[in-house]
């Protein structure tokens, strides 16, 4: 009897795992199956054409803009904040508050960020629906990710490094940027790369702050659409699954490259360290 129960449970475990893998393979497979046919040099590097048949270069450029701008702002802030939390702050109420705020930010759904961006950056700061408004919104979204990954990697730097450096008479600041930060670099870098993934995948927040203009952005103050938003809109407005899937292929490949790079960097640099 017990044996039978065990067997059933074991069967269920195999079944569940099979189901998970099958479903996920099916989704990625479907996107590639539908979309790969459209992928070509002209599709990726061609300008968008409203009459159809054009490329997705404007969306790629917009996506790159949002990544660069939001990381440019979020990276220094995030790293320094993590440094404060790990290296400078005395544990206490202030640190707890900051930690709580950071964790809460992680849990907020992106549509709420979108609402906030729409009223704060777009309307109150008068940036209008624009790449810059979306990027600033994204900055807040990835900030907790950067803070957390940096903190984690700062934790892994051995105490002896700090003590050794300080014993040599360096100041705390010198120790920080000559010893601690370089040792924590792999972790920080993979955190940044994961943030890029988050930015690329974001849709709701960008939809409400950058708008949907399907054209090459003239500047960062232009309204524009990113790849993900484009994929959403061509599905919703035109029902063009093939085009949406083709954009999806580009997105999945980008995410794959980013993840592999993150893994590679942390492995490579870890080896270099020890």
């Amino acid at each position: 009897m017990r044996k039978l129960k065990d067997k059933i449970l074991l069967g269920l475990l195999w079944f569940a795992a099979f189901l998970t893998v099958a479903v996920l393979v099916m989704i990625v497979g479907y996107i590639f199956y539908k979309g790969i046919g459209l992928i070509s040099f002209d599709f990726i590097f061609g300008d968008y054409s409203p009459s159809g048949g054009g490329g997705i270069l404007p969306m790629i450029v917009t996506t790159i803009y949002t990544i660069v701008i939001s990381l440019l702002i979020a990276t220094p802030i995030g790293i320094l904040a993590a440094v404060y939390l790990q290296e400078y702050a005395k544990q206490g109420r202030l640190v707890n508050t900051i930690r709580f705020a950071t964790e809460s930010l992680t849990g907020i759904p992106s549509i709420i960020y979108g609402l906030f961006g729409a009223v704060f950056f777009v309307t109150t700061l008068k940036l209008g629906m624009s790449i810059i408004a979306a990027s600033l919104t994204l900055t807040i979204i990835v900030l907790p990710v950067i803070i957390r990954t940096t903190e984690e990697s700062l934790k892994t730097v051995p105490r002896t490094y700090r003590e050794g450096s300080l014993a040599l008479g360096t100041t705390k600041l010198q120790t920080l940027y000559k010893v601690i930060l370089p040792s924590a670099m792999p972790g920080i870098l993979s955190g940044l790369i994961l943030s890029m993934g988050r930015i690329i995948g974001e849709s709701a927040a960008i939809f409400l702050t950058a708008g949907t203009v399907a054209a090459m952005p003239a500047s960062i103050f232009s309204s524009a659409r990113t790849l993900t938003v484009h994929s959403f809109l061509v599905t919703q407005e035109a029902g063009d699954i093939e085009l949406a899937a083709a954009v999806g292929v580009v997105l999945i490949v980008l995410i794959l490259i980013l993840n592999l790079t993150a893994t590679f960097i942390s492995k490579k640099l870890n080896k270099a360290n020890y």
């Binding site: 893998v21 849990g107 549509i111």
Partner: protein
């Protein structure tokens, strides 16, 4: 350290030290400022969303109870009731949990305990990767495959329905649930398993009676995170929900959860209508805050 300072004036050293000291102090402040920015952001977000969303009830005389319990949402006729959306959000989330959690959890157990190392080494990172795929693509898949399947093979009159939303959300939460739960199960000390096996408990029995209970708090975290993902998801849901303003009474009704109401109408709403969308955001926000609170309780318990 290429050169060693040989001899220096005492005053010069003092100056250099002072400069260093000031630098230390200033940089400490800068770091603190950066750390405080996340607190400021959170306060700004809460402040703006609540300010905008509470305005109609404070200044324009709308009743918050009518807003929560009203079943008519007709902005052009000044009717703002979000009960259908609240019910839709709750049903969709619970439904997704019922399907997604057991499958995700069992997959996690499989990967951590049963699967050969080589298999787990391929599947685990692959599942992690899937957590990073833009959610919109899950919606595209839902619209292209699940909706027609429900219509053509199961005979639903419309594929855009509560059940379609549940399936898409369940699939979307899988990677999160699997990844977090797997980590938790792997963290259970080996001694637990060995002790149980030594007592003559079967391997499967050990997993379900010893390992899983030991990983309980991690597994709960996985479930809460998956739930957060389901309740907050927007764009994928828009594509498969149908967005009808009806209080769902069956799995085949098309629905409009809270998130999609905001995304659908924010583009053109203004005045009171727009403020009511922020009020919708407050309700959604409250759900998430409750979830976060639960999560904090769980993790603090797990810590003890």
């Amino acid at each position: 350290m290429s050169s060693i300072p040989v001899k220096k004036d005492a005053g010069e050293i003092g100056k250099a030290n002072k400069r260093k000291y000031i630098l230390e102090k200033v940089s400490g402040r800068v770091f603190l400022f950066c750390a405080l920015l996340s607190v400021v952001s959170l306060l700004l977000i809460i402040g703006f969303v609540f300010y905008k969303g509470s305005h109609p009830f404070i200044a324009e005389g709308y009743s918050f109870i009518d807003f929560l319990l009203g079943s008519d949402w007709v902005p052009s006729e000044d009717k703002f009731g979000i009960l259908p959306m609240i019910v839709a959000s709750i049903y969709a989330t619970i439904g997704a949990l019922i399907i997604g959690v057991p499958i995700g959890l069992f997959t996690a157990i499989f990967l951590a305990e049963i699967a050969p190392r080589s298999v787990a080494k391929i599947i685990s990172p692959a599942v992690q990767l899937l957590a990073g795929i833009p959610s919109v693509l899950y919606g595209v898949f839902g619209l292209a495959i699940i909706v027609p399947f429900l219509q053509n093979n199961l005979g639903l009159i419309k594929g855009q329905s509560l059940i379609a939303v549940i399936i898409v959300l369940a699939i979307m939460m899988l990677p999160t649930v699997v990844t977090v739960a797997e980590t938790a199960i792997r963290a259970v000390p080996k001694a637990y398993r060995e002790g149980s096996l030594a007592l003559g408990v079967s391997p499967i029995g050990t997993i379900f009676k010893v390992v899983v209970p030991a990983a309980k708090s991690g597994i709960m975290t996985a479930i809460v995170l998956g739930m957060g993902r389901a309740i907050g998801e927007t764009m994928a849901v828009i594509l498969v929900a149908g967005n009808s303003l009806v209080i769902p009474t069956s799995l085949t009704d098309s629905i409009r959860p809270l998130t999609t109401n905001i995304a659908l109408e924010m583009g053109y709403a203004f005045g009171t209508h727009q403020e009511m969308l922020f009020a919708t955001g407050i309700v959604l926000f409250s759900f998430i805050l409750i979830l976060n609170f639960v999560l904090a309780r769980i993790s603090s318990k797990g810590g003890n």
